[in-house]
């Protein structure tokens, strides 16, 4: 891009803003999403070393569990859900998304890295891989369901997770169809894969996937992460909904669509 592309002529006043160190947007997104994949793999591979260091004398009697990790069904499903989700995101960042912004500021990248790498990448797997992890407590002790039905619940939640991830991917592909490439600011009115009921169907499907993950993992950390996701996506969805209305005005079916959760808000 040159000044001529922006119709800047001699004698015009140019205002320059220093936005700090910038990183390529696509690279930033890949870095953000690769963190949890690496951390979950490290937790799997070095479980003995991590918990021996962290728990010290408190893991006496758990040597067998630490040395030969036999995950419960809940742990197994939750770990695979997390890995699938972030690998899907990495593939989307590489092959699907067309980013309108060319760069991201380094300070924003550090905040995002803290959120994904530290919060989800460290705190969530720490309790998920924990030798004292108690599986099925939410279903058997809170909901008082028989132990035999719990495995069916996990299979159902896995199916819902798979559906949500697929729909999220389809939403992203649908949004991609409005643009020709990177740095294209074009927006269209999406109408497929859930957009009939909600302005940000991609956020809704992703939130649904995280809810199923939290129900399978059954750790306080995963529920806190889902709550944080809800607030972030709710804020962004609200902004996007109003941006659609401002851009498309009467053409946008604002009366028929909520902004985040269908039929609710």
């Amino acid at each position: 891009m040159t000044l001529n592309d922006y119709d800047v002529k001699p004698g015009d006043t140019l205002y320059v803003q220093d936005r700090g160190t910038q990183v390529s947007y696509r690279l930033a997104q890949i870095l953000i999403n690769i963190g949890p994949v690496i951390s979950f793999t490290l937790f799997w591979a070095y479980r003995l070393e991590i918990y021996s260091f962290c728990l010290g004398e408190n893991h006496v009697g758990d040597e067998e569990n630490l040395v030969h990790f036999k995950p419960t069904l809940a742990q197994d499903v939750a770990i695979k859900m997390a890995l699938c989700h972030f690998m899907k995101r990495i593939l989307e960042c590489t092959f699907v998304h067309f980013y309108s912004k060319p760069t991201k500021s380094l300070s924003n990248l550090v905040l995002e890295l803290g959120y994904f790498w530290l919060f989800f990448g460290t705190v969530v797997p720490f309790y998920l891989f924990h030798p004292h992890y108690q599986a099925d407590g939410f279903f058997t002790q809170v909901l008082h369901l028989p132990q035999g039905t719990v495995s069916y619940i996990y299979h159902f939640l896995t199916a819902v997770f798979g559906l949500a991830e697929m729909m999220n991917l389809l939403c992203h592909i649908h949004l991609k169809s409005f643009r020709k490439g990177d740095h294209d600011y074009t927006r269209g009115i999406p109408r497929l894969h859930g957009y009939q009921a909600v302005s940000c169907a991609n956020y809704f499907w992703e939130f649904l996937a995280w809810v199923t993950f939290a129900l399978v993992a059954q750790t306080l950390a995963s529920f806190l992460f889902v709550s944080a996701c809800f607030f972030r996506m709710n804020f962004r969805a609200h902004r996007k909904h109003h941006r659609y209305i401002a851009q498309f005005k009467n053409l946008y079916p604002a009366d028929e669509r909520c902004y985040f959760i269908p039929y609710l808000f």
């Binding site: 408190n58 309790y127 998920l128 992890y133 407590g137 993992a217 750790t219 306080l220």
Partner: protein
């Protein structure tokens, strides 16, 4: 004015009691659990600024983030650190520094509330410059207090919640101490730089007040 006066008189009273009893009695005895008068006054003084938070929440005034964070840290040092280690001599040193700081700050606020801001340059100078000594001292003493109290918290097992449990979560109150130790340094640097820049801005205005720019 009422709030500032309460803060000034309270802090000066505490300093008077501390120095009055200091030479003859053990310093730590002034903040012992048996003598609750000073403790009660100091806790009220530290909690009173939460009125500012209420003002902010209901839209009367704005509150800067670093002020709110500072407030939270001081309340936590009082209720979450000193309460578990009241006989530590560093607790008394921290209280003295806090009292001196609060006396300076609230005296300045009262002076500003009387529409006298920038009228007496010396007062503005002392208010804006005192933090160079007081704030680092307060921070160092708070860190020393935290390190000093850590073994007692570990020994008492305060706030310990172990796995296995329903929520697959464990917690140890020591983690809050470690978090403070790690997070307090960037917060200190950020606040110090902010105060330094604020000082330059305010003193420039004060100097213009006493030496008005000559109009040609």
């Amino acid at each position: 004015m009422l709030h500032n006066s309460f803060q000034i008189f309270g802090c000066v009273f505490i300093l008077y009691r501390i120095f009055h009893e200091g030479p003859v009695a053990d310093f730590t005895g002034v903040y012992s659990k048996e003598d609750t008068k000073i403790e009660r006054i100091f806790k009220w003084l530290e909690l009173a600024p939460f009125l500012e938070l209420v003002h902010h929440l209901i839209g009367i005034s704005k509150m800067k983030t670093h002020i709110f964070v500072g407030m939270l840290i001081n309340i936590w040092i009082l209720f979450g650190v000193i309460d578990y280690n009241p006989t530590s001599p560093y607790a008394m040193h921290w209280i003295i520094i806090r009292c001196v700081q609060k006396t300076i700050r609230h005296f300045y606020n009262a002076y500003s509330a009387m529409d006298l801001k920038f009228e007496v340059y010396a007062i503005d100078y002392i208010r804006m410059t005192a933090f160079y000594v007081m704030y680092p001292l307060e921070y160092v003493y708070s860190l020393v207090l935290v390190f000093n109290t850590l073994p007692k918290v570990k020994e008492l097992g305060i706030g310990r919640y172990n796995m296995p449990n329903l929520m697959n979560f464990d917690f140890d109150y020591q983690l809050i101490y470690f978090f403070y130790i790690c997070a307090s340094l960037p917060n200190f640097i950020n606040t110090f730089v902010y105060l330094h820049r604020k000082r330059a801005q305010q003193l420039e205005i004060a100097e213009r007040f006493i030496r008005p720019v000559k109009q040609d």
